[in-house]
């Protein structure tokens, strides 16, 4: 378009409907953001405000008192130990299996029947309510053996498995094919390509996906109700006898009318949030560390 000489070139955005649409969309996005943030901030403030008062070394380590006990007696030590045992066992079972499953889906299975079936089942499993998973483990494991931390770990592992498979799968899909071809062109075997090129390129995302799954599992209550019961003293053996966990403690304490129990429930809730927070930060750090070479 020729510019007539002598005329001021107008590069400002034209007024009118286009500009109005822009304004409306911007306002809507800001409103949506605020709506999302309000409950988040509210939950965080409430939990911190009510939980911080009770947190002390004694609270984190002492045995669990009767629910009628006042707030300054006892703590949630056995629940923290139980959560670490159960979530740890679940992680050891679910994460390697999930990563291997995703590698099969992406690198080996191709579009075969088996791979599609596994992918489909993983999707279905993601949608199974956690309480159903607890019932499942209750019927196949607890009824035959007994309540134990391991039974809880099985239930949590079943919940984590599809999440790990899906997140790893997505990360492996993001690895560009030319990288694989570059490795193949040097005479690498498929196992070699997977181990030395595909996994290192995706490891940051895989680790953070796994940590997110762990954080989710650490907060699950329902599947543990049928599998571990609750105890008041530390059970050092996760493979035998009832155990307890932080979410279970929150559940049993928060449903009580006694102020001491409710205070302990808030304290346990804050502890759980802090654990999840630490895991998220760790996920960020690990992702950043492993992606050092990917820029």
């Amino acid at each position: 378009m020729a510019v007539t000489t002598g005329q001021q070139l107008n590069l400002r955005e034209a007024k009118g409907w286009r500009r109005t649409k822009n304004r409306i969309a911007t306002v809507l996005m800001v409103v949506a953001f605020v709506l999302v943030v309000i409950p988040l901030v509210f939950v965080l403030i409430t939990v911190v405000a009510r939980g911080i008062k009770i947190i002390s070394w004694q609270f984190l380590t002492a045995d669990i008192p009767p629910t009628v006990a006042p707030a300054d007696v006892g703590g949630i030590g056995p629940a923290i130990v139980g959560t670490i045992q159960i979530v740890g066992l679940a992680t050891v079972m679910a994460v390697p299996l999930g990563i291997l499953g995703a590698i099969y889906l992406n690198e080996y299975g191709g579009k075969g029947v088996v791979a599609r079936l596994i992918g489909f089942m993983a999707d279905v499993m993601t949608g199974v309510p956690s309480i159903v998973m607890g019932l499942f483990i209750f019927s196949i494991w607890v009824l035959r053996f007994q309540f134990s931390g391991f039974a809880g770990a099985l239930a949590l592992g079943c919940l984590m498995l599809p999440v790990v498979i899906r997140s790893t799968d997505e990360m492996l899909k993001l690895v560009p094919n030319p990288l694989r071809e570059g490795s193949y062109a040097l005479g690498a075997t498929k196992a070699r390509v997977t181990m030395t090129v595909v996994l290192p390129a995706a490891v940051g995302g895989i680790v953070s996906g796994a940590l997110l799954a762990i954080a989710r599992a650490a907060g699950e209550t329902a599947p543990l109700l049928f599998t571990i019961l609750t105890v008041t003293a530390v059970n050092p053996n996760p493979f035998s006898g009832p155990n307890t966990s932080i979410p279970s403690q929150i559940f049993t304490n928060a449903t009580q009318p006694y102020p001491g129990a409710q205070a302990r429930a808030w304290g346990a809730a804050l502890t759980l949030i802090v654990i999840a927070f630490v895991l998220m930060i760790a996920a960020r750090f690990i992702t950043a560390r492993f992606t050092r070479y990917s820029r």
Binding site: E181, A185, G187
Partner: protein, 295 residues
């Protein structure tokens, strides 16, 4: 096809031994005396599923020469190139008919391992695809997968390969930096160094300069001329000037349109010395293409 396969070169199992060292260089001007052939393709047709991408290609590629494949888009140059080191095996549904012999051995014979093939026949891709590793680890990748872990030897190989690829002086002070931080031309030379590090017999190049500016392109062409005394090079290019500048022989491919079934398939129109193809083409289609009458 062939009754008694006389395997001059064993491709049966991936061995860790270095591929046969290239013969001492015939003088670059050894145009008039054709060397021995490296590849002999006979009636090669390539399919992707039921789609026939290339029909009936027969040609021989000579030792220590640079052979260029030129032709319009979709004429199957790249497909033919990728049949030479079995890269098309990685594409689901890809299939080759006819016979490709590499130094007397049938590449698509029954017991041939594509891994062993690719250790002898390296490939450089259209888009530079350095691994998300350090420059050093990129070059050392191939020797390492071939079982070389001696630090001193690896250092030597890395330096030698980077020197051959004319990249050493630019990166010698930052070998530990990410290979992804290099410019396009440097990254492509890194990929060439990576390919040369396994001392291949043949280097296949799939439009190696299409993503590069003229200066980087010139650097890579110089490099090709430098190394051709030790390697046999096959290059796919869209750039006819490039073919005239670097290649000894040129194969012109074109697209054959089938009006009845409305399908297109690539064919080899003419193959000969580069000078003859560009100055005295025998086929009218070649003439139209090299003189720029049709794109």
């Amino acid at each position: 096809m062939e009754p008694e396969q006389e395997s001059v070169t064993s491709l049966q199992q991936p061995e860790t031994a270095a591929p046969p060292q290239a013969q001492p260089a015939p003088e670059p001007e050894a145009y008039s005396t054709p060397g021995s052939t490296v590849f002999d393709a006979e009636n090669v047709s390539c399919y992707y599923g039921s789609f026939r991408a290339v029909t009936d290609v027969s040609l021989s590629i000579y030792e220590n020469e640079i052979t260029a494949f030129i032709g319009p888009s979709g004429c199957g140059k790249t497909t033919v190139l990728r049949t030479l080191n079995r890269m098309n095996d990685l594409v689901a549904g890809a299939r080759v008919e006819g016979d490709v012999r590499y130094r007397g051995a049938s590449l698509y014979g029954k017991d041939v391992s594509p891994i062993a093939v690719r250790r002898r026949i390296g490939m450089v891709f259209q888009k530079p695809n350095p691994f998300p590793k350090s420059i050093y680890d990129n070059v050392a990748y191939g020797p390492r997968i071939n079982g070389e872990h001696n630090k001193r030897k690896l250092d030597e190989i890395v330096e030698h390969s980077l020197r051959q690829a004319a990249l050493w002086d630019e990166v010698k002070d930052r070998l530990k930096a990410s290979g992804l931080g290099l410019s396009g031309g440097q990254a492509q030379r890194l990929c060439i160094a990576r390919t040369l590090a396994v001392e291949p017999d043949v280097v296949l190049m799939d439009e190696p300069c299409s993503a590069l500016d003229p200066i980087a392109t010139g650097a890579i062409e110089d490099l090709m001329r430098d190394i051709k005394s030790r390697y046999t090079i096959v290059i796919v290019t869209h750039n006819m000037q490039q073919a005239t500048r670097v290649s000894d022989r040129t194969a012109f491919f074109s697209v054959l349109r089938n009006e009845e079934s409305d399908t297109r398939t690539g064919v080899l129109v003419e193959y000969g010395r580069t000078q003859q193809i560009f100055e005295d083409p025998h086929d009218s289609r070649t003439e139209a293409y090299v003189t720029g009458q049709v794109g």
